[in-house]
Symmetry: C2
Subunit: 413 residues, 2 copies
Amino acid sequence: MTNGSADAVHVDERLLGRYIEELGRIGESPDGGMSRFLYDRAWQQARDTLVGWIREAGLEPRVDAVGNVFGRLPGASDRVVLTGSHVDTVPSGGKYDGALGVVGGLAALAALAGSGTPARTLEVVALCEEESSRFPANFFGTRAMLGLIGPDEPQRLRDPDGVLLADAMREAGLDPAAIGTAERHDLDAFLELHIEQGRVLADEGVDIGLVEVIPSIAWETITVRGRQDHAGATPMDLRQDALQAAAQMAREITGLVEQEGRPAVATTGRWTVEPGLPSIVPGLARFSLDLRHPDLAVRDRLLAGVHRICTDVAQRHGVQVDVTREKDEEPAAMDRQLLDVCRQAAEACGASWKEMPSGAGHDSQLMATRVPTAMVFVPSVAGRSHTPAEYTELADCVRGASVLATALHRLAF
Amino acid sequence: MTNGSADAVHVDERLLGRYIEELGRIGESPDGGMSRFLYDRAWQQARDTLVGWIREAGLEPRVDAVGNVFGRLPGASDRVVLTGSHVDTVPSGGKYDGALGVVGGLAALAALAGSGTPARTLEVVALCEEESSRFPANFFGTRAMLGLIGPDEPQRLRDPDGVLLADAMREAGLDPAAIGTAERHDLDAFLELHIEQGRVLADEGVDIGLVEVIPSIAWETITVRGRQDHAGATPMDLRQDALQAAAQMAREITGLVEQEGRPAVATTGRWTVEPGLPSIVPGLARFSLDLRHPDLAVRDRLLAGVHRICTDVAQRHGVQVDVTREKDEEPAAMDRQLLDVCRQAAEACGASWKEMPSGAGHDSQLMATRVPTAMVFVPSVAGRSHTPAEYTELADCVRGASVLATALHRLAF
């Protein structure tokens, strides 16, 4: 690691490496992928492990009503500068998404713990849920801290096995009735260290990404209904093949977004084709659309184009199409002053940096609606993420955590 | 029904209507679809019901070693003119596919039973398996009659629940060791009555289709491997999206076959997209191709075009593609003399007719390799088949069965 300037704070490489490897074994499956889902056994084990590490680092551990795990370095003031990320994963995800921000934040506070009492209190948090892998409860930990959990959620939301969120909480030793106590009004700032999950930093050889904005995401479900027919006995010119129409829509949507150029992205990742037999012309095809752009106006212009494509293709193919909006997130701008602090911290650490939009969504996008927030990215090898192949060099993890520690030092001391 | 000429044989409309409705309730699900799978409970019930009807009609019932059900009207000669079709169904199929040829043949023999002793023996058969809905044992009944069942099949083939074919046979009261006894060497002709399963006859207002040829079918599995990536963090220009490449292949394949024109058909009916999540760029897409043409040379020219498309699209999208041949059936020409007899029978019954290729595959395609064979089609309303919406007017069923009875009369008396 390059030493930039005297006021850089360097985290312990050996400690951070140990955190990453040990946390990366909790919920690991034989293919090397990570599966830690809200309140499941692996998640509980990760929570307990973190509480132990927080104690070892000389911080005060605390688990709130929804299972967010905090490590606190008390300051002269009770106002809090918070850092952290989420501890849950996608199914068969990688070791770094979320986890790095948790253990990087912990390594940063461990490094700062020896610097005396800060002016403002420092905390690191392992947010209990970001990926919605088990319950449709996106950003559950952050929402609890901001008082944004609906009163009916614990008794309404179920996992794919039918388990109620409230019962899963009790299983993990938590009381659903106490959710309100997780709300915080003492936060001055939130900094989140995260892997980029894309390949921009790696391709350009830049050490640190300073996130300016988290894009607006729209999720839609596009359902095409044609006519189920016999594959041998129905001439091509008499078909209303739902799959062929859907495939054409997916291609034209992709073409539209490719023409728009970076940073617009569209993904058609989930497909259902019915009845799904080789010898039957599909009567139904359903696919998901994930469309993102940092500029809400551009995103909505693209969505209007998507809807025109769906209508046009449906008409040409003689099929019906329905489009349902599943998710609609506004873009979240990061705090300019915090970004400047992070930039200065990067320079103090001798790290190259660039400002960039995030590709993915993060807890920070919600936190930013109430608390000044900034994100620091480190490079992802080959841009791989949400796969067991997700990887970030230890040196890059250490550099990112040191930039974080340096920024926290500037903010709290 | 029009009375064409004096030597027409007319089946009993009330009897055939009753057969269709009662058989159509065996294996019926709440959506009105039929599910009778080889050797399952509904299949056994259908077998037992048919044996009762055969007895009622004054025919000699017999169940062979694989569960083919025969009704015999003994003639002066032991040489047999056989008619029939299959009694199993696709999942949630219709009441007519297969079933009409069984009960239409039974109604035909019931009508002929009062005409004295035929010169040649007449038999109707309910073939035990055609659709491969439960076991990968396509044409099991016909193959048993032709001695084409592999000696290892009963101990090798399993249904989706892992049940061995041999155990399913025993469950239905059959002895797998006796399969060889089902082989027949006494067949002079086979006639199969069937619904068209397409809309050519209905659109053109023609009563009877005389099948000249059953097309050559190729089934292939096309597997596209790209790279699984994060949907937000991976710019469009850096993706290797398996689904987008597969969708493009499916569209280009369809375009190629549409350009070829009737009777070429291609269907991409089964799709698997992995990991299948909205926020992940698909790393794998796999789809089935069903390609049919009555002319083997044309079919193979089209397949060569398909493979060029797959290679070209894969190259353009930076993905890998593998193509596996799953099924390769040669076209089967129907017997010219039998077709002439069927044509004369149609004319005797006052039915309009046209010669046409079959769209679907049938037991007749295999039977035709050993025994002179012909098929008679009746119209399918709106060409619907392999769905609960499959329907043929009773008048069309009766007309088809009467054409069959008239043809059998000419062949056997």
